[in-house]
């Protein structure tokens, strides 16, 4: 079945000081992906607001495939979720907030609920701006799961659309897999050897997946892998910050176990402390 390109974007807007930056950013994104952009305002509609918004959109240099503006009323989370289903949205765009006095970003309560419940992929934007900030480096989650293949496809698709130079596929490996506690030199040696072995296996797995992609799919982006032994979901976020990635791509689900139906725990670490823009890919195979 494979990964389906993003055709329809949805952004729920509100009249806030950052509206201009937000709108410019989402329009730019939609035009890169040649997608339809739905802009939805939840709340009362009046003509002055409408005109103001019209002017804002027209002032934006980039043009996506098409822009639709909808004015809805009701409870924000439910309304936007309904719109996602109604318009068959592929990607929901959300803005993050900056914690006061700290260089950290977090999600507001509405955005957090939407992230959890959205039926489609979600992009969390940290610093929307009027000027374009090129997306140079994508870090993507490549741990062993059913969704990984599609997540990787999505990453290469995104990188082609945004003109990204580099993709790093991070395999987060749970330390419990090593199953050797380092106590002294001997156990350290054993653990190091075992890690190397796991590393190799993981690397081969990821390489096999990527090698099965067509050359059009990969384009001329340079890609590499990095395995990290550590807490799943946590390590990749920290890693994305360390390498100053511009976009972090995660899959939405845990393995298709019973627990996968709950909100995946891995993401919590990332949502609590957004390292950079985050794209959460919801794939069809387990949608």
């Amino acid at each position: 079945m494979g990964f389906q390109p993003f055709k329809t974007f949805l952004f729920g807007f509100a009249f806030s000081p950052s509206l201009r930056a937000n709108v410019f950013e989402v329009i730019r994104l939609a035009s890169f992906f040649k997608a339809t952009l739905l802009l939805i305002h939840v709340g009362e509609k009046n003509s002055s607001k409408e005109q103001q918004f019209e002017a804002l959109i027209n002032g934006c240099p980039e043009k996506p495939a098409s822009i639709e503006v909808h004015w809805r009323s009701g409870e924000p989370v439910a309304t936007i979720l309904k719109a996602c289903d109604e318009f068959n949205v592929d990607l929901l765009l959300l803005g993050a907030l900056k914690r006061e006095n700290m260089v950290k970003f977090y999600l507001g309560s509405i955005a957090r609920k939407l992230t959890r419940k959205a039926p489609c992929s979600v992009l969390l934007m940290l610093k929307p701006s009027e000027e374009r900030r090129p997306c140079k480096h994508i870090v993507v989650n490549g741990f062993d799961s059913l969704q990984t293949r599609e997540t990787l496809e999505a990453s290469f698709y995104v990188s082609l659309s945004l003109g990204t130079e580099k993709i790093t596929i991070v395999e987060e490996i749970s330390e419990s897999l090593v199953a050797i506690t380092v106590d002294d030199d001997r156990s350290l040696r054993k653990a190091t050897i075992k890690k190397e072995r796991i590393n190799r296996v993981e690397k081969n797995r990821v390489h096999d997946i990527v090698r099965s992609f067509s050359s059009e799919q990969i384009g001329n982006v340079s890609w590499g892998t990095q395995s990290i032994f550590g807490r799943r979901g946590y390590s990749i976020g920290h890693y994305a910050r360390v390498v100053r990635a511009d976009l972090l791509i995660m899959n939405a689900q845990e393995e298709s176990s019973f627990f996968g139906r709950f909100f995946p725990k891995d993401l919590e670490h990332i949502l609590a402390e957004l390292p950079t823009d985050v794209l959460i890919v919801k794939t069809n195979s387990n949608g």
Partner: protein, 733 residues
């Protein structure tokens, strides 16, 4: 085959380990008796602990060169336990305490089993130092009176401390002879380290004191025919039928709060003391092995249980004795075992002599031990790291003195945390992140380096997370620790990181710390700024050159070399010389460098031992590139000590045709044939006809060490010409 090789190498190192076990037992005997006495337990209980520890831990332990036995830190806890549980009757208190020791042994074993060794990381470094100082003061305050022969002083630590002047004025009227013995013993212990004579240092200071006092006793009985002028209550008493009746621990109180408190205190202090010691001793291990801390804890637990049932105190890893062990060639756990065996031998064979040891002399040893724990130098050192650290130290010290150990360390931890809050001015930073993982470690696939990034904050509260990651990196690799995402790093972490840096250097790995410089500029970080300098204690040196420094500068100018008085971190190459295998080099200063960089002369501060047994030494060294490659060798003066080493299996290469050289020099190295080729008659004549230095080759370079102190200008000149002539001779030959 590997196993067979192991057995052979074990057997071949046995003589050395027996020797070092013997030297250690010389120090363990007086300390064991003294520590037991200070805890108001029967004197032999300390020896029993050492024997149980030596036997059990050498079999089940996970460390390599540590020595186990009764610990200094526990004296105060055990003393308190015996007094409280005995409710006036010391001996019953002792029996109850034995039960507590057994329980704490079980707890310690469980700690090791569940790998809770990391728990000791939750104590901030300065608070721990404060607590140890309080223990030191506790020992000192009580034993000072005993040292002067006064057994009547009662009350808490502060009362005892304040009545020291009193005792000092009156002791001559009570037991003048024993009091003076104690006092002079104490003075001797203080001066012992000033005298750096190798013959003299062969026997540890406490043993000198004990032997001295015994011989004074014999002088009276045998030569003068008088009774020993020491009151019988000031002599050690050993029960008659030694190995037949062991005291029976009393388990009646195990459900009482007092008892539980005692068990907790003993376990806490025992694990802290042991873990600190194991960590410190690992730094001295010539084979650079990493101890299995949890396995060692388990062994200590078993040893404490055994010791408790036999009437002994509890068993911990002890730093001072371990350092002695390393410095005398101990290389595996068998030395711990032999130290125990020698102790048994002493008690069986020398029982009568032991009963002639005056308590005052043992007390002198303890006062000295207490002083080293509480030494004002520690406070000064900590103050230089940061005034707030000194405050933490003092607060913990005072609270511990006024209340008890558990409350003391608790207050210390709390106070440290409050200080951190004040310094970082952010409660959120801690409250939001304390339970979150904050360390990322990965092997960079392109470079093959280990990269470690720490974010948010890193203090004693979550240092264990960073440690856990760092422990997974082999020390021979290149590690980069990045603090740029971390807003707050405390002193405990900086100190811990510094230890890792040393461990990596020892195993020829690289350990880089990055991200702190920007950081300090941003937040005026107090710990990181200071820690980046090698040793802050000697700042101020720079401003005004001493007379010697001026002379050195003139001399350098005269011969066209460059001179720098600055403190530098010690040249890394030093660790490849055998001399530094059991020593830690701290920093170098007053560096003279040949214009072609081939010769380098400097003063070096280095230390033997670690922690409280740490001794900082300074000497002048000369390093130069050998004009051609040489075998690894060590050449030193042949003396009593090297002769002893020879018996213990340290080989000496002798030349039949050069009897004078062979008699006066001790030459050793692995590749005997190569060495014999290098030592031509001409070279040997050169050595014979020049002053004797300690000379080592590491293959490419030669190191010449001057006296056991800083060399004067004249001596430096002699060293230089010696080295230059030697260099020329090697090139020719």
């Amino acid at each position: 085959m590997g196993r067979r090789a192991d057995v052979i190498s074990f057997l071949s190192s046995l003589p050395k380990n027996i020797f070092s076990g013997f030297v250690v037992s010389l120090i363990a005997l007086p300390l064991g008796l003294g520590l037991a006495m200070a805890s108001e337990a029967p004197p032999l209980s300390g020896i029993i602990a050492a024997v149980a520890g030596g036997v059990v831990v050498s079999i089940f332990g996970g460390s390599y060169v540590t020595i186990t036995g009764p610990g200094n830190g526990l004296v105060i806890v055990l003393l308190g336990a015996i007094t409280v549980l005995g409710e006036g009757d010391i001996y019953t208190g002792y029996l109850y305490t034995l039960a507590a020791i057994i329980f704490s042994g079980v707890l310690l074993f469980l700690f090791g089993l569940f790998r809770l060794g990391f728990m000791s990381e939750f104590f901030p470094a300065s608070a721990l130092q404060g607590m140890l100082a309080a223990i030191g003061i506790g020992i000192l305050a009580k034993q000072f009176h005993v040292m002067l022969g006064i057994l009547t002083v009662k009350g808490d630590t502060l009362d005892q401390l304040f009545s020291i002047p009193d005792s000092f004025l009156t002791f001559l009227a009570i037991h003048p002879f024993s009091g003076l013995l104690g006092f002079f013993g104490f003075v001797f212990l203080f001066l012992y380290n000033r005298i750096r004579n190798p013959y003299f240092h062969l026997i540890p200071a406490p043993m000198w004191v004990v032997m001295g006092s015994i011989s004074v006793g014999y002088y009276y009985t045998l030569v003068l025919g008088l009774p020993i002028p020491i009151d019988p209550e000031l002599l050690i008493k050993i029960p008659e039928r030694l190995f037949l009746i062991f005291p029976k621990p009393l388990f009646d109180k195990i459900w009482e709060w007092d008892f539980i408190g005692v068990v907790i205190s003993i376990t806490l202090i025992a694990s802290i003391e042991s873990l600190l010691s194991i960590k410190a001793v690992d730094k001295l291990d010539p084979k650079k092995r990493r101890s299995n801390v949890n396995k060692d804890l388990r062994a200590l637990g078993i040893a404490s249980v055994v010791s408790g049932f036999l009437g002994g105190l509890n068993v911990v890893t002890v730093i001072a004795r371990s350092s002695v062990n390393v410095n005398n060639g101990g290389s595996n756990r068998s030395s711990n075992f032999f130290h125990a065996m020698f102790l048994v031998l002493f008690v069986v064979v020398l029982g009568d002599q032991i009963q002639r040891i005056p308590l005052t002399v043992l007390a002198a040893i303890l006062v000295f031990t207490g002083y080293r724990l509480a030494s004002p130098d520690n406070l000064i050192r900590i103050y230089k790291i940061g005034p707030e650290q000194a405050l933490i130290y003092v607060v913990t010290l005072m609270t511990t003195l006024l209340t008890n150990l558990i409350t003391g360390i608790g207050v210390g931890v709390l106070f440290t945390f409050i200080i951190h809050l004040l310094l970082s001015k952010s409660v959120l930073l801690f409250s939001l992140n304390i339970f979150k993982p904050n360390v990322l470690m990965y092997l960079e696939e392109q470079s093959g380096n280990y990269y470690v990034s720490v974010k948010n904050f890193c203090s004693f509260l979550n240092f264990f997370r960073l440690k856990k990651k760092l422990d997974q990196i082999p020390e021979s690799q290149h590690a980069i620790v990045d603090f740029s995402l971390c807003e707050f790093v405390d002193h405990t972490v900086m100190e811990g990181i510094f230890d890792y840096q040393r461990a990596f250097e020892r195993k020829n790995g690289m350990f880089e710390i990055i991200g702190l410089d920007i950081h300090s500029a941003e937040t005026q970080h107090p710990f990181s700024v200071r820690k980046s300098l090698p040793i802050p204690a000697l700042i101020g040196f720079k401003n005004s050159l001493t007379y010697r420094q001026k002379n050195l500068a003139d001399f350098a100018h005269q011969i066209g070399w460059s001179y720098s008085p600055d403190l530098l971190s010690a040249p890394k190459i030093l660790s490849s010389f055998l001399f530094f295998e059991t020593k830690i080099s701290n920093y170098s200063l007053n560096t003279l460098v040949h214009p072609k960089q081939t010769f380098q002369l400097f003063d070096l501060s280095f230390s033997e031992g670690a922690f409280i047994a740490k001794e900082d030494l300074k000497a002048t060294f000369l390093l130069f590139d050998s004009p051609k490659s040489l075998p690894v060798f060590v050449l030193d003066k042949e003396d009593f000590k090297t002769t002893m080493y020879q018996w213990a299996g340290f080989g000496d290469i002798n030349f039949i045709n050069q009897p004078d050289f062979s008699r006066r020099f001790h030459l050793s190295g692995n590749n005997e044939n190569e060495i014999r080729k290098v030592f031509t008659p001409e070279l040997i004549y050169f050595f014979e006809s020049h002053p004797i230095f300690h000379i080592e080759s590491n293959g490419e370079r030669l190191m010449i060490k001057g006296k056991d102190r800083l060399s004067g200008l004249h001596e430096i000149k002699i060293m230089l010409t010696f080295a230059q002539d030697l260099c020329a001779l090697i090139e020719k030959g």
